[in-house]
Each structure stands twice: as C-alpha cells, then as structure tokens.
C-alpha cells in the first residue's frame, strides 16, 4: 500500500494559490476573456414561452443584417416542443455582440403557445393541463422498512409537518459558455468555462464527428460551476458550428437571464413527515411522503438522513414543470434531505421537551453507506461537542424563551454527511527537465477550489522544492486523463496519481544521476532544494537536474490504494436573531465542524468550507427561483430579485477542521460539497428556536417568517 509522506513539510499547512497573482492583478484569462484574431460574438436566441410548439423559424432576416457571419437554427419547425422559457431556438455569430443581439431579435419564430404548468402547485393540481407526454407527475412506490404504522402507534410523541424548499439556481458568476476556434477543417480548440475539459472534448467529438486527437479543450481558470458545467451544451456545440460556417472563431456565453433559465438548478423539495419517538428519546417510526421538481428532471433526496429509524416508509413523487432542467448542484439532494430531516428532528425534540442536541446524539445511524460505511457515531459525538463549545450551546433555551422584546435570539444545529471518494482510473504525468523545471500534467481543471495548487504541493513535498517551483499544468483535455471537478472527487482522484507520478519521476532521476555521483540510487535524497548523498549535501536541485543531459525524466502516475478514502461528515451550528415584527432574520454566527481525511492545503480547504457555509446561508435565507404561474416565466432571472448574500449579510463564521491523526491516516477525501449541506437546516432550526414557531418554508425570508407567525397565532 502506498502512503503519504510521514512528517510532511508542506502537506496540511496553509499554502497560497499558484494562480493568486494572476487573479489579483486581473491578468488571469477566463474562457470568456479569450479573444483570438477575427473573433465573432455568438448570441443564443431562446424561447420567451414556457410551453409551445415551434411552427416556423425564418432565419433570413438575421442573415442579411450588417456584421452577421453565420446563423443556425437549434429548434426544428413543425417538430420542436418548448418545455421551458429559455429553451434554445437559434444562434447567431456577428462582428459585435450588439450586432449579434440585433440579428437574434430579427429571427422570426412562430410559436403555437400551449398551456403550461410553472409551479409544483400548478402541475399537480386537479385538472391541470397534461403538458408532459408521460404525465405531470411520476410517483414511485413507497419504500418500506419494518412496520412503520404499527411502530408509530407505540410512539409517545409524534409530529406531523410539511417542510418545503424552493428551486434555486447555480448563478455561476461567469456564465456558461465557450470560445470555439477551428485550427483546420477537422481540428478545433475550445476555451470552455467548464468543470470537465474531458467532458466538453467528448461532446465535441460526438456532436461534430471529429477525431479525439483533433479536439483540444482548454480551461486555465473559470468563474464557477457548482455542478452545472460538465458539458459543452447546445450553445457550445452551436458556437463550434457557427465558427465552422463563418470560418472565424466564435465566443458564445449565456446572458444572466439565460443562465438562470437554462444553466441548471437545484430541485425543490417538499416533505410531509410523520416522525415518532419514545419517551426516552429514541426514534421509533417515520412515514414520509415527499415530492419535488427538477423541471423535467429528477428531484429525489436522501431521507431519513444521518439518523436511524428502523421502521419507516418513504414515497417520492416527481413533479414536472415547465422550467429549466435541474443539474447537479453542490451536494445533490443532501441539503434538501438534511433540511427536512433536521427540521423534523428539532420539532420532535421540542415536543418531547428534550434538548435537541442530546436527542440527535441518541439517534445516530451507526454505519451509513453515504458516509463511506464508517461508523460515525463517536465521530459525530466529538464533532458536536466541539461545535457546541464553539457556538456556546450552554446558552441554549427551549423554544419560546428567547427574549421578551420583538428581537428573539435562537440557536440551532444540524448534521450532515457525504461520500467524497475519488475515481481510480485517473493519471498525472510528471516531467523533470534538465533545467530543473518541474511540470505536472493532467486533464483535470481548477474551478476555483485550488486543484492546481494542491497538485503542486504534493510535488514540492516529494522533491524538496517550493510550491512555486512546480508548474501545475491542468485544464487541457489532451493531457493524461483527469477527473471532472464534481462530487468532491477531484482531489481524492488526482492526489494519488500525482504522488505516484512524482515519486516515480524522482526515482528515475536518482537512477540516472547516481552513477555519475559514484552512488547508488537508494543513497540519494532531496531536501530544501538540495540533492543529498547519504544525507550529505552534494548538489543543488538545478545542478542535479543538469546531470540529466538532454533527456528529461517523464513518469506517469496512477492510482494507488491507501492514499484516498471516502465518507466525510460534520455538523453546523447557527445563531440567529429574528425580528418578529418585520420577519427579518439575521445570522449572527455559524460554526462548521468538518472532517475530510488528510487535508492537503489548509488554506484552500478552509476557503472551501467558508464558501460552502455561505452558499448554505444563501439557501437558508435568500435564494428562490420565483415562477409566474400566469405566464410560465421566471420572475427573478437577475441578481437583484434573485437575492444573494453580500458582505453585510455575512456573520462570524468559525471553521473547525476535524483534523485528527485518525482522520489523516484515512487519506485524501473531498470537501467541496459537505460544508454546504447543513447550513440552511441549522439556520431553520435556529429560527424556530428563536421565535418558538417552525417556519416550514425556506428561505427564511421575512414573508415566510411572518406567515409562520401568523399561522401559529391563528391556531392559538
């Protein structure tokens, strides 16, 4: 079994990003900044209607407009059905963006407008128009374990509640898109804002009938993806086709509204949950009916989550709406499953009159497959203990005892878990040049997480160099196969082959230069930029490499067992204040305790956790795709009415790395997703604790808070 260096010099410390200077100076070139000679601007014409048939498309008016170089229909007259506002109709390439926009507007499209269902409510309503060939809903059979109904009878306390989370969209700051540049009749170079250079290359090969060897996809840096940017997409392929037709490179990026409408989203979730427990605080039964919409896509989420309920049943219904299709979004399914489960747990603890923290610890599932089959019971206990101390849980008071004035204060917590294991078929090449330069190559990419830096950290560790001495060349689809940036799998997939490549290259270097030093390869070692023979400094790194003559060392590394693992978890605590007169929630503090095996770079690791937590805060407080039932249009396809946190919304955030010796021996595991899972859940619970009433609908917006308060008053 392979292993990580035992007392590392760099691994686990805080290493700044290799691309920091490029970003801070404004010199970093994003795919939407690439401007090859002769560049044309692509614009996508998308459907204004949510449900329609395309009866006719007339491209001619666009073709004759000034500056227009190519026009392409993406829908077929008489055949194409429009399922959501924003669906692709046609694409134009012109000399300037304005000319392309004017031309796109000039395209004449005749639609037969059909009835639509824009929301879950509309879609599932009695007598709703059936707008999807297979029906507006698809109910899965209930999955039952044990005898939930019988067990529920024996419960001492039962809650029955419905919790809801809205559809949210990815809102990548750099929209989806790419710049397509043909290098010859059969060969193309594509600059893509993507999480997968290999995925985009593959799409180009399949859609354009090209040979793999003639497709190069480059992603040096890119402006965020969060699960929505794995493919070339219709508009990317269109860019390549327009570029071919025009004989000039074409840049095609979505605008902000299109980004919301067709760039992907996280499905909604609704859960009607009946949860019962015995007096001693043990869960006895759960019956859950859930639903959600991912447009025409799936919306399922894990439930139960984290906790053990032996007798349970769960039935999930997919609801289809005329909205853009869901795509993977940071920890697909988990934030929803976590929010509804944790809300039910909290409500039940309140009903039982038990401290919700103790109630959770008494009901942990022992070996959850999601979390890698590890028994997390003791881990969770320690993590919750650490989190409780950091938030000051001893201040916790039961619901309804959190202030006499209009401003109430509350505490909440939630637990989460994630896989985060890697793939075992990826490769990294390591090249040591005679001039002493070291290059790593792989067809993975850095979506902002620090992937480039992490590979360099590993190489620098093994070669006794500084991180800045390593050239970490990724974001090129022609390099050895690398991992897509998704599922928190990038680091665990790429770190093991990287270590292998660098160790092989080092060993090969030793083998080649040892004879000239009258030494055996096993006598050589590297430290502090020096070559040591039997522990004695003999040459600088540069001098050692010069002994290679003309021939660089090249080695390709593959996966090795023992270096990576799967299964992570953590807990988050939130402290909020709620103004019961205005319904305004302010998050005061969040504590995030997170494990993820061996942490390679503490700095980028913490950035990931901060980012995850604030992403979860957005989900908890602000984000919501609002659909107009009358027109089927999205009402807030912007960055204003689609509310996102700004600097003034950010509370004190305490990130606690659960970085223990036991964790380190597990090897590398990903962290991109787990820290975003439980934030919205913890905030929801803190709000309930503050105001004494469950706000059953996320986000915790003034309207949803006031509605919940009014409903409670109505009942009282």
């Amino acid at each position: 079994m392979a292993s990580w260096p035992e007392s590392p010099r760099l691994i686990g410390t805080s290493i700044p990003r290799l691309d920091g200077l490029a970003k801070a100076s404004g010199r970093a070139k994003y795919p939407s900044d690439i401007r090859p000679e002769g560049l044309l601007f692509g614009v996508l014409l998308s459907s204004p209607h949510a449900s329609a048939k395309v009866k006719a498309i007339d491209l001619e008016p666009a073709k004759t407009m000034p500056g227009v170089k190519a026009v392409l229909a993406l829908a077929t007259a008489g055949e194409s059905t429009i399922f959501y506002q924003g669906q692709e109709i046609a694409a134009v390439a012109a000399e300037t963006e304005e000319k392309a926009r004017d031309a796109a507007r000039a395209i004449r499209v005749e639609y037969e407008i059909l009835p639509h269902v824009a929301t879950e409510r509309q879609s599932a309503a009695e007598g709703a128009p059936k707008v999807f060939p297979t029906g507006n809903t698809r109910a899965a059979r209930a999955q039952t374990t044990g005898k939930p109904d019988e067990a529920m009878q024996k419960a001492d306390a039962v809650i029955e509640a419905t919790y809801e989370l809205p559809v949210i969209t990815h809102v990548c700051l750099e929209p989806h898109g790419l710049t397509a540049h043909w290098k010859g009749p059969d060969s193309i170079t594509v600059y893509a804002s993507t999480q997968s250079v290999m995925g985009v290359a593959n799409d180009m090969v399949e859609n354009l009938g090209l040979e793999s060897a003639n497709v190069t996809v480059l992603t040096d840096v890119m402006g965020g993806g969060f699960g929505s940017k794995f493919n070339a997409d219709t508009w990317g392929i269109a860019a390549a086709k327009l570029a071919k037709e025009a004989g000039r490179p074409v840049r095609m990026f979505l605008d902000r509204a299109q980004e919301h409408q067709l760039g992907g989203n996280r499905p909604s979730a609704k859960a009607k949950i009946k949860l019962g427990a015995a007096k001693d605080g043990k869960l006895v039964a759960m019956v859950a009916e859930t639903s959600g919409t991912g447009g025409r896509g799936g919306s399922n989420f894990p439930l139960p989550y984290v906790y053990k309920v032996d007798d349970r049943s769960r039935a999930h219904t997919e609801i289809f709406v005329n909205g853009g299709s869901a795509r993977a979004m940071r920890a697909p399914g988990h934030p929803q499953g976590c929010a509804v489960m944790e809300a039910a747990m909290d409500d039940l603890a309140a009903k039982l009159g038990i401290n919700p923290l103790a109630f959770r610890l008494a009901n942990l599932a022992e070996a959850d497959m999601v979390a890698g089959g590890v028994n997390r019971t003791d881990l969770y206990k320690e993590q919750v203990e650490r989190g409780a101390k950091l938030i000051g849980w001893d201040r916790w008071k039961p619901r309804g005892q959190n202030g006499d004035g209009p401003i109430k204060r509350g505490l909440g917590l939630a637990l989460h878990q994630w896989g985060g294991g890697g793939a075992q078929d990826k490769q990294v090449a390591c090249i040591i040049n005679p001039d002493g330069s070291v290059e790593l190559r792989s067809a993975t990419q850095d979506i902002g997480t620090g992937a480039r830096t992490i590979l360099a950290v590993i190489a620098a560790e093994v070669l006794g160099l500084e991180v800045g001495q390593i050239k970490s060349n990724i974001g090129n689809s022609t390099f050895p196969p690398g991992q897509s940036s998704g599922g928190s799998t990038t680091t665990p997939s790429m770190a093991p082959p990287c270590l292998d490549a660098v160790e092989k290259a080092r060993d090969e270097l030793f083998k080649r230069i040892a004879p000239g030093l009258d030494a055996k390869p096993e006598d050589l070692s590297l430290k502090g930029g020096k070559l040591l023979v039997k522990g004695e400094e003999k040459a600088t790194w540069a001098q050692a490499c010069r002994k290679l003559g003309m021939m660089p060392v090249t080695a390709t590394g593959v996966f090795g067992p023992g270096l990576a693992s799967t299964g992570v978890g953590g807990c988050q605590f939130a402290e909020v204040t709620v103004d019961v007169e205005t319904g305004v929630v302010r998050v005061k503090k969040i504590v995030a305790v997170q494990d993820s095996g061996l942490i390679l770079d503490m700095l980028t690791w913490k950035s990931q956790v901060y980012g995850g937590v604030i992403g979860g805060l957005n989900y908890g407080l602000f984000e919501e795709r609002i659909m107009d039932e009358g027109t089927g249009a999205m009402l807030n396809p912007d960055m204003e009415m689609y509310k996102l946190a700004g600097a003034t919304d950010i509370p004190e955030i305490v990130v606690d790395a659960y970085d223990t010796p036991e964790m380190r021996v597990r090897g590398v595991i990903g962290v991109g997703e787990p820290p975003t899972i439980s934030t919205a859940a913890a905030i929801g619970n803190a709000v309930a604790n503050a105001i004494g009433v469950r706000v059953p609908k996320w986000p915790m917006s003034p309207m949803n808070v006031l509605d919940a308060l009014a409903a409670a008053e109505g009942k009282a």
Partner: protein, 161 residues
C-alpha cells in the same frame, strides 16, 4: 444601433479614442475594443459589481455606463492599478489573504475596495462590509475579502495611496 462616433477618454493613464456607437457599454468597449478583459461581465444589470471600474476615482458599474458618459474622463480598470510590477496595496492584500476562489469577482472586488479606501482611508469593519456590499461573490469568499480590505488599510497605513 446608433451611428458611430469618436469617444475620447483616458484609460489607465493613457489617452484613448474609440470609434463606436456611443450607446455601447463601457464594459464592452474596455473588453472588446481596448483589450482590457480584466473587467468582467457578471449580470449586465448593475447588480453584481463584477464590472466595477473607477471613473474619476469613483466606482462605477461599467455594464451600466454608456461609453459616451466617460467622454473626457479618466477611467481606471483592474489592469491599471499596479505601477509596473508593483501591485496596488489592495491587490497585495487580496493576494496575501487569498481572498478568492474562482476569482471571477476579484477584479470588481479590488476596484470597489480601492474606491472605498479612497473615500474612507480608515474604515471600520462595518464600513468595509457596507462598502463592499454591492459586489457579489458566488464562491462566497466574503470573510477573506473583508479581511483583505482590512489588510489593505494596514498596508496603506490608513491613508489611501
């Protein structure tokens, strides 16, 4: 599309003249005509701050500024903050604090911070948050961004450059 006209203004200290539709956005002209892609498009609606530039030292959203509006004025973009190889203190602070993930918001953040410190060389934490509030970061690097602005205040000794 309006008729083309010559628009003259200073960009990063250099006099420039562009022959263009005067209604085009400053963002577009900077990125496409003047070869300065450091300023980014995030929303095109004045809502995200990714396109922040300095016009006569004041922060503006270039996506909502017609190029004709800067006729005769001085525009500074992210590319113009450094003096040669020497980064602006705010850039140095962002670099030191690693105040980004994907970095797509960074140019706008740095420009906004420069404008903030120009107007208020020694802001309190609340003033920093308020001053940076119109710039959105989807990777949610805010804690480090705010720290970087604080660090920039230290680097400039509480007095803007």
């Amino acid at each position: 599309m309006g008729a083309e006209a010559a628009v003259r203004f200073t960009v990063n200290g250099e006099a420039r003249e562009v022959e263009t539709d005067p209604d085009r956005t400053l963002l577009d002209v900077l990125r496409e005509d003047l070869g300065l892609p450091g300023t980014k498009y995030g929303c095109g609606e004045g809502q995200c701050g990714a396109c922040s530039v300095l016009v006569e030292g004041r922060r503006m959203n270039a996506c909502r500024t017609a190029v004709s509006k800067v006729e005769g004025r001085s525009v500074v973009t992210i590319e113009g903050l450094a003096k040669g190889d020497e980064l602006h203190p705010v850039q140095r602070a962002f670099l030191e604090e690693n105040a980004y993930q994907c970095g797509f918001c960074t140019a706008g953040m740095i420009v906004a911070a420069v404008a903030l410190l120009e107007a208020n060389p020694a802001p309190s934490d609340d003033e920093i948050a308020a001053g940076m509030d119109r710039n959105l970061c989807r990777c949610c690097s805010y804690p480090k961004i705010v720290k970087a602005v604080r660090r920039a205040v230290e680097l400039t000794g509480g007095g803007a450059r």
